[in-house]
Symmetry: C2
Subunit: 186 residues, 2 copies
């Protein structure tokens, strides 16, 4: 089964390539300012909106979309706006646990076929202010929700995880395989 990855994220493309799954990329064009009754529903709703949008433009093709957000006490952390914002986020994450939620949705001709979410707990080391500012100086935090990348220099910040590691990078592998498999068998 061939499908369209409805995501412009190079990290998601890298993961699918790493595990040997063929795909084509088409970046979604959606307004990310969705309303949800609870913020933890946002990743799934956004993934659905992306999958629908791409599948409407690409007749009869499967479109697979993702949206990943970092939650601290159920409040979403987006991408930091500047170095001060990154410092505040990383200080808030230091020495404690947070949750990464990725929504995954598969659509065809504008109809959602599957829609799921994956949650992973991430435990940060207790960070010294100098460790945080050294990390910000690498510029890695700025394009990343929660101001860190677990598959980069940001791996230094993490003590342990509980759940799917690749979910934290942006693509939950086991869940994605299940969704692709269920459609293949239908």
């Amino acid at each position: 089964m061939s499908f369209i990855l409805a995501s412009a994220s190079p990290r998601r493309s890298e993961i699918l390539t790493m595990i040997g799954i063929p795909f084509e990329v088409d970046a979604p064009r959606v307004d990310e300012n969705l309303k949800a009754s609870h913020p933890t529903e946002l990743p799934r709703l956004l993934a659905e909106a992306k999958a629908k949008e791409v599948s409407l433009r690409r007749k009869d093709m499967w479109a697979l979309a993702f949206d990943t957000l970092v939650f601290l006490d159920e409040r979403p952390l987006g991408k930091p706006q500047d170095a001060d914002d990154a410092f505040k986020m990383l200080s808030a994450l230091s020495g404690r646990e947070h949750e990464v939620i990725t929504g995954v949705a598969l659509a065809r001709n504008g109809m959602i076929e599957e829609s799921e979410e994956e949650r992973t707990k991430v435990f940060f080391r207790k960070l010294k202010p100098k460790e945080i500012s050294d990390y910000i100086a690498t510029n890695e935090p700025f394009d990343k929700a929660g101001a860190y990348g677990i598959q980069g220099i940001g791996a230094r910040l993490v003590d342990s995880v509980e759940g799917c590691f690749y979910n934290v990078v942006g693509l939950p592998i086991a869940l994605t395989l299940d969704i692709l498999q269920s459609v293949k068998e239908a």
Copy 2:
């Protein structure tokens, strides 16, 4: 503080490079057929033997060594000898939990300064025989303890982890930073 990575593993070098730690490599020359009162002690004993050996050859330098083993029900799984052996190992890991233990040791002039271990639980998906044989056909299993690599095509086999992800790749990042830090401060 500069140190010698007492390991020939390219994956360990990659992780240290990824997190921006400078090091030099010197592969240890040790007999890996050690005796231990319990097999789960082997990673630490082997890391100690490697760190000692390298530090004796490199006067006044810090040598940091690692040894990673995969344990199923506390029995160690080494590298598979052939495709049949890999098939047996991966079938045994399918649908259940196992443990990866890495020993870490730091030595100077033949004296062990620090010696620790890190344990991570890995949960495998329930694998179909075809998934296992497809994976073996990639040749990825053959140089890896437990016959899989979590940072490669083998990521397809894994449902979730509990603990340090990079420990499964062979270098527990948080523990390594702690050990390097303790020596720096001493």
